[in-house]
Assembly symmetry: C2
Homo-oligomer: 181 residues x 2
């Protein structure tokens, strides 16, 4: 991803947080994480993150999704003898369609990103509106997509070790390099 | 505390959350925890809490303080071989004066609750405005008070086991009974 694209996405994420009264420090604003997962289409498959705290015991983040933006399917494996990351997604703004392992009646409300259909394999749908939340057990495949107005989601979890996440799509790079313009 | 007093405090807490766009489910609204600590003066020493999630690995709550309301001094001891609760307070609205063990220059901005002076013993001041946060290490005595507009504080932490908290004031009851009117 180009540095200019990162900066534009950071600005767009902070605009959405500002619009919903979620205050950040100047340092947090400057360091919003823009995750394009190395897939080259941030609008479609991507996520913006503000990590408030990540200790060896717990973690809290604010996740921002642009309209229709999708966090690709992944799971959190056990690390260092501990069970995998357990996380609670609490919707603060917008609508989020969350998919986990489990039953599905044959339809979903989200649109699987075109060209990546093979890498979306779980379809048990949870629809989250502001104030609603869902806790994902360790080791459970999941993916999520914002509705048409984008979304802000608070994530409360055990320690975040993103580098160990297992994505269904082998093309995903969780920590790709930023390229100068 | 009387049931009517609990209901009034719940209403006041949800009004403040509503005013700042923090959405709750109907069940969360009905179950806002009102902690008067058995001290008989909720306005002065008390706290309102919404527990979003409390698992054996992490916890997240929204704390609401009325103007000048104070959470009495306490610490979180080790429980069951684990270090004590570690918690991050992130101010979302208003101003919070947080006091922990450490240096103090002889003045503080909060007012120690009258009649309870003996039970406030740590005065290292941290002033938190919206978007600012502070992480309290396990086993550290601390107390906090809202400024004149009240405050909303997100708490991210390890597992919450309130019944083990150690308060400096021996009169505190963390879980007093509710009395019918």
């Amino acid at each position: 991803m180009k540095r200019s694209e990162v900066a534009a996405a950071q600005r767009r994420a902070t605009d959405l947080l500002d619009a919903h009264g979620i205050m950040l420090t100047p340092e947090e604003r400057a360091n919003v994480e823009v995750a394009g997962f190395g897939l080259g289409n941030l609008e479609r498959q991507g996520l913006e993150l503000v990590t408030y705290i990540n200790t060896d015991r717990y973690c809290a983040k604010e996740l921002v999704l642009f309209p229709g933006q999708t966090c690709p399917e992944h799971l959190h494996p056990p690390v260092g003898g501990e069970p995998g990351k357990m996380e609670t997604f609490r919707c603060r703004h917008g609508v989020v369609y969350l998919y986990v392992e489990g039953e599905n009646d044959g339809t979903i409300q989200a649109e699987v990103p075109e060209g990546s259909e093979a890498y979306y394999t779980v379809f048990h749908e949870i629809e989250l509106h502001p104030g609603q939340q869902y806790t994902i057990p360790p080791g459970t495949k999941h993916w999520f997509q914002a509705g048409e107005n984008g979304a802000i989601v608070s994530e409360f979890s055990t320690t975040s070790r993103d580098e160990f996440d297992i994505f269904t799509d082998p093309n995903v790079q969780r920590m790709p390099a930023i390229v100068e313009d």
